[in-house]
Every structure is written in structure tokens, then in C-alpha cells.
């Protein structure tokens, strides 16, 4: 029953994410076509529509294939390797189709002098939203509580401790007591909770994509989008911190024999988190669009400026490089969210820390599972 539920939930996740990826061109900015700035007029033309139609057809096929693979897992088709096959197919199909569409869109790229760059001076400073700060503090507090709880009970733990739990929260994997086995989840709580809180804080001040001239409409749309994304990430950070801290403390209690399974609150928070992550991004996509594109429709005929519009600054429409630009986070050219300015050493340092952190956690997990 539990396996069926996991697979069913995984299929629902694939469907929701797949549908969002499918409609990305519909919620994108006018002027941009699959990571290429082609100009506002060309992006509404027949050739651009043809590229979009090919995307919809291809992406629909990929979605159907990935769902069929997911169902294959549930019905026990022997050649289906793992439950994550549907996700892998979806991600691989997405990137292959994107690169094909990008190559086609490059042919339509605007060949013009460098675009103007614009900054709105008459909208005043951007206010700093409160929720990201709360998210950051919650991440730090929750992480420290989890680390402190594990640390203070370390000597009381038995020789073997649970390191993996099934869908009902009952332990199904054990390892010898070690620093890695005990501290993995608490340290992850601290790192991820605080990290997402900090990300939410940076998103509120990410580089804006301005249209000019438009009397500040695109800047206002951007401000609303940044605030929405920032709130979204901060809430994810708070829920994730709660879930991981709950799981961390609860797993220590299970190891000590005070409980036989994880506290049900862990499962409730996990379900809430996944629902919020999927529901929230769909809401932002449909309500705001890429970078607030759906809020600035009235002025979307005004040209985009610098940053997003300058094709020379982008590689494959995905990677932004500008040494002059002090921005760390830059809006994606295709899809919702942000990417890093690889011309800024701070952004590169952030990326290196992120990669080293992920590698550290992977090694810690492998070490803890050895026992």
C-alpha cells in the first residue's frame, strides 16, 4: 500500500512539473524565445509560433512517456530500472527539446547595436520584505536546535542507530553509531534551512529586467514578482526547517527507544512542503509569469533592456556572464526563477560553496551508510 502511495504521489509530481514545463513559453516574457532575445515583434511572429508549437508537441510526448514509465514501475514491468526513471526522462527530454528550440531561436536573434540599459529612478528604493529575514532566522534557530539535540544525546545513543525510515516512519535501515550517522540530518537542517532563507533574502534584491520606455510599469511588475518569489522561498525554508528539525529530533528519540517510529508531524510537514512547493510555483507562474511578465502585459511591446536582452552576455540562453554587473542573481531567460552571474566572483564563490556542501553531504551520507 505504501509503495503504491509513493508511486502515485511520484506520478502526480511528474504530471504537475511536466505541465508547468510544457506551458513555460506561454508564461514567458515577450521578446524572449527559448533563451534568445529576438525582439518583441519577432517573438510574436509566425516563425516563433512554429518553434513554440514544436515545443508543445515534443514536451507533451516526453510527459506521456515519463508517465507511462512511472506506471510501468507500479505495475512491475521488469525492464523499468527505478522509480526515478519518469523524472529522469522528463528532465532529459526537457533539456534536449530546449536545446533544439534554442538553436532554432538563435537564427531569429536580433542583430542590432547593444541594447540600451535602463534603471527606474522615480520608484524609490525597493523595500526589504520581512518574511525572508524570518525564514533565515528560523533556519538558523531550527538547525541549531536540531544540532544541539543530537549533540547532547550522542553519548546516550546505542551502538546502532536508524538512518533510514519507510513511508510510515518506521526505521528500515540501520548503521553503527558514528558522528556521520547521527549528525547528518541535524547539519542538513542547519545548512538547508539557513541556505534557503538566505536565498529568499537575495532574491528580493535580484537584478531586475526593465523595459524602456514604460513609465516604471515593468519595474513595478518586477518588484511584485521578486516579493512573491522571496515569500515563496522563505516559506519553503520555514517548512523545510520544521520538517527536518522534527525528523532529526524524532529520529534521535527512535534511536533511544523513546518512540518506535517518526512523529506523525514529520509526515504532515513533508506533505505540506511538497504541496506548497508544487502549488506555489504553479500559482506564481500563472499569476505573475516569468519575472512578472503577465503583470506587465500592457507595456510588453516596449523593448527589454540590457541584462536579459543582450545575447552576447548569455551562453546557451542559460548562463549569464558580465564582469561589470554587480548582480549576483539574474532572472532566467527561460523558465521561472534565477541563475547566477558567473562574471561576479561572489556568485562563483556561492556556487563553489554550494557544490562543496552538496559533495560533503553526499560523502557524509555514504560514510554513515557504511555501518
Amino acid at each position: 500500500m505504501s509503495t503504491r502511495m509513493i508511486v502515485g504521489f511520484s506520478l502526480f509530481q511528474t504530471l504537475a512539473v511536466g505541465l508547468l514545463l510544457l506551458i513555460l513559453p506561454r508564461i514567458g516574457r515577450r521578446g524572449l524565445l527559448f533563451g534568445v532575445y529576438v525582439g518583441e515583434e519577432v517573438s510574436g511572429g509566425e516563425e516563433a509560433r512554429g518553434i513554440r508549437r514544436a515545443w508543445y508537441g515534443g514536451m507533451f510526448g516526453v510527459l506521456v512517456l515519463s508517465l507511462l514509465l512511472g506506471i510501468g514501475v507500479e505495475t512491475g514491468v521488469p525492464w523499468v530500472p527505478a522509480g526515478s526513471a519518469s523524472t529522469l526522462i522528463l528532465v532529459a527530454g526537457f533539456y534536449l527539446l530546449y536545446l533544439r528550440a534554442y538553436r532554432q531561436a538563435r537564427r531569429l536573434a536580433a542583430v542590432a547595436p547593444p541594447p540600451v540599459s535602463a534603471a527606474p529612478f522615480d520608484v524609490g528604493p525597493q523595500p526589504t520584505p520581512l518574511l525572508p529575514l524570518i525564514g533565515l532566522l528560523t533556519g538558523l534557530a531550527g538547525g541549531l536546535v536540531a544540532v544541539g539535540y543530537a549533540w547532547s544525546h550522542y553519548t546516550l545513543l546505542p551502538a546502532t542507530v536508524p538512518i533510514h525510515f519507510d513511508f510510515s516512519g518506521t526505521p528500515d535501515g540501520w548503521a553503527a553509531r558514528s558522528f556521520a550517522a547521527v549528525m547528518l540530518l541535524p547539519v542538513m537542517t542547519l545548512f538547508m534551512g539557513a541556505g534557503i532563507g538566505a536565498l529568499a533574502f537575495f532574491v528580493a534584491h535580484a537584478k531586475r529586467a526593465i523595459r524602456h520606455p514604460d513609465d516604471g510599469s515593468s519595474a513595478r511588475a518586477q518588484a511584485r514578482f521578486h516579493a512573491a518569489m522571496s515569500r515563496y522561498l522563505a516559506t519553503i525554508g520555514i517548512l523545510l526547517t520544521g520538517m527536518l528539525a522534527f525528523g532529526s529530533i524524532s529520529s534521535i528519540d527512535v534511536a533511544l527507544g523513546r518512540a518506535t517510529r517518526l512523529h506523525p508531524g514529520f509526515g504532515v510537514l513533508a506533505a505540506l512542503l511538497v504541496t506548497y512547493v508544487i502549488g506555489g510555483i504553479i500559482y506564481i507562474g500563472l499569476r505573475h509569469g516569468q519575472g512578472g511578465a503577465r503583470l506587465e502585459r500592457a507595456v510588453s511591446a516596449a523593448p527589454l533592456t540590457d541584462g536579459l536582452a543582450d545575447n552576447r552576455r548569455w551562453w546557451l540562453g542559460m548562463f549569464y556572464f558580465n564582469r561589470e554587473d554587480p548582480a549576483i542573481l539574474v532572472e532566467h531567460r527561460f523558465g521561472l526563477g534565477y541563475t547566477l552571474n558567473l562574471g561576479n566572483w561572489k556568485a562563483v564563490a556561492f556556487l563553489v560553496i554550494l557544490l562543496l556542501g552538496s559533495l560533503g553531504f553526499a560523502l557524509l551520507a555514504a560514510w554513515s551508510a557504511r555501518g
Binding site: 534603471a119 527606474p120 534584491h205
Partner: protein, 136 residues
């Protein structure tokens, strides 16, 4: 801002802000975005924007608050003697250049009167809107 112009970027930024202040779009006390935000929007170095803000501060258009941004300065009620002398010199030089460019003295007079009239009208409009805000 245009990257293909010969005019340095910081001067383009300063010229634009000066124009907005002169046109009344940015009134006295208006807060300008922090240097980092403007530099990020424009995709230029922080120092470029800071230089534009500093030059506007020296000219009396802005008051640099702190690292958080700048504020549009209120126009001085009385010009200092040294400033008035310098500005008169600049005006004379500009008028000479315009005359040399072929603009007739009558046309010059018309242009100057038009600009002064427009400044007075803007100041009156600002005064009226401030009065309405206080009444409200």
C-alpha cells in the same frame, strides 16, 4: 543609457537624473535607489553609478544619505556669491557656443525665456500640489 555613445556612462546617468530633477519628475526629497540597485539594473560597475551620484552631489542636485541611497536636494533659496559667479561664467560660455553654432540672438532670447517660463510653471505646480497635500 547607450553603450555605443562616446559620452561616458557616468555622465549619461548624471545627465538623465539632472533632466528628471529639472523636469519635476523627481521632486525635492525624492529618494533615489541605492548605487548597487542602479548598477545592477544597468549592468555597470558600482563605481560608475557612485561617480554619477557624487558629481550630482557636487553640483547640488543630490544629498548622499549613506550607503542606502541618495535624496534629491531642495533648490537653494539664495545662490552663494562664488557659485553664482561660476554659473554665470558657464552660461556665458554656453551662450557663446550656441551663437557660434549659428543660433541668432533673437532665437537665443526666445529659448532662454521659454526655459525660464517652464521652470517657473513647474515650481508653481509643485507648490500647488504640496498645498493640496497639506490641506488633505
Amino acid at each position: 543609457m547607450r553603450r555605443d555613445l562616446e559620452e561616458p556612462v557616468y555622465m549619461q546617468i548624471a545627465r538623465q537624473i539632472r533632466g528628471w530633477i529639472a523636469s519635476g519628475r523627481l521632486g525635492p526629497g525624492s529618494l533615489l535607489p541605492p548605487v548597487r540597485t542602479v548598477a545592477s539594473d544597468l549592468g555597470v560597475n558600482l563605481n560608475t553609478v557612485a561617480r554619477a551620484y557624487r558629481s550630482l552631489e557636487e553640483e547640488g542636485f543630490l544629498l548622499i544619505r549613506d550607503r542606502s541611497g541618495a535624496e534629491v536636494a531642495p533648490p537653494a533659496t539664495e545662490a552663494a556669491a562664488g557659485d553664482a559667479r561660476d554659473l554665470k561664467g558657464e552660461l556665458r560660455e554656453l551662450l557663446l557656443r550656441m551663437r557660434q553654432a549659428g543660433i541668432s540672438p533673437e532665437e537665443l532670447q526666445r529659448l532662454v525665456s521659454g526655459e525660464i517660463g517652464s521652470l517657473v510653471r513647474r515650481a508653481e505646480a509643485r507648490g500647488r500640489s504640496r498645498g493640496e497635500e497639506e490641506d488633505a
